[in-house]
Symmetry: C2
Subunit: 219 residues, 2 copies
Amino acid sequence: MVQQQRAAVTRAQIVRGAAEMFDRSGFEGASLVEILEAAGMTKGALYFHFRSKKDLARHIIAEQHRISISAVQAIAAQEASAIEQIVMLCHEMARQIVQDPIVRAGIRITLELSADDRGPAGPYLDWIAACQGLAARAVAEGDLVETIDPPTFARFVIGAFTGVQTVSQVLTHRVDLEQRVDEMWGFLLPGIMPTTRHSGMMRIRAARTDVPVTRTARP
Amino acid sequence: MVQQQRAAVTRAQIVRGAAEMFDRSGFEGASLVEILEAAGMTKGALYFHFRSKKDLARHIIAEQHRISISAVQAIAAQEASAIEQIVMLCHEMARQIVQDPIVRAGIRITLELSADDRGPAGPYLDWIAACQGLAARAVAEGDLVETIDPPTFARFVIGAFTGVQTVSQVLTHRVDLEQRVDEMWGFLLPGIMPTTRHSGMMRIRAARTDVPVTRTARP
């Protein structure tokens, strides 16, 4: 039992060390030797848990997926309209990127691998699916104009967020990310909400959640 | 003179071979040996023109910059309102990405290097600057609501475009990029244009340019 706990701790340490290195140097740039140094581990310990650097990368992307899904569930549990939950979703994605090295590493690896045929679509599809469900509800609730197609809108929102965070990273190391996401909704809301609902626009734009999301690699 | 021309051709061949490799395998993934094979060159020829792989990457990013600037100038020369030129700009960025391996390689290298401190902001700043000038004109022309801040709007448009193309790449290898950019303007225009101008919205959304842009690496 103690041994199982120790193995779980070791595993989590390796994942965190790998996330730090992938976040800093990218998938191709990060070497296994550096990952071992960052995690304070031996090669034997690493190979006991993971088959290869690619295997580690896959695990980090899966872990990011798990974090995303818990955030989506936490937001769905909020007492808020669907359009508010979409705004919350974008700010929660921003918060995770700024605060969680596993999420940052997952995004960097995903972006790097996205540029060629090996690109994992999973992380995008998670957020698009969550946003699509909320968009359909927001149309039904009358907060999105009824001509909006939820899948098309969801793909655009996740795309726009993805690029807003990329540009924020390049220009300010994501220091201004929360403000940029807020501005994105400032440009979008007037065009996607029926004018009869515009009186609630500032409240919707200000929607945030601070529901805690599990962030440890393993229990 | 003949020798100079031959050197220019060799140089352009190396740049194109490198662009193909960077586009396919990324900066870290592309090896000099593969670049030489793709270009059909010897190591000596490469080192006569470029100091290192990094030097080649810098050259491709500079070349992408040159291509961007000529597109911006070609669009500025069009007989079109500023808001139409902003729409044209986004579609021209999309066209370049789909058609030009040097632009694709430049974007991939930029994205990869953006994820850490070495990230070159240049390509983003080019487009943001162009878009900002047009946005200021569009406000003056009454096609953008007067509360819009041109620098903030320009940064958002280039950010949103960047992510829309990333998601299009991951989900469809950019086959749907033109349609996705058109949808982006479908969501944006109703909220950023004064309602008194909404009658011209479909014409603005349909604005395109087919001005040819120089695409060869060197004269």
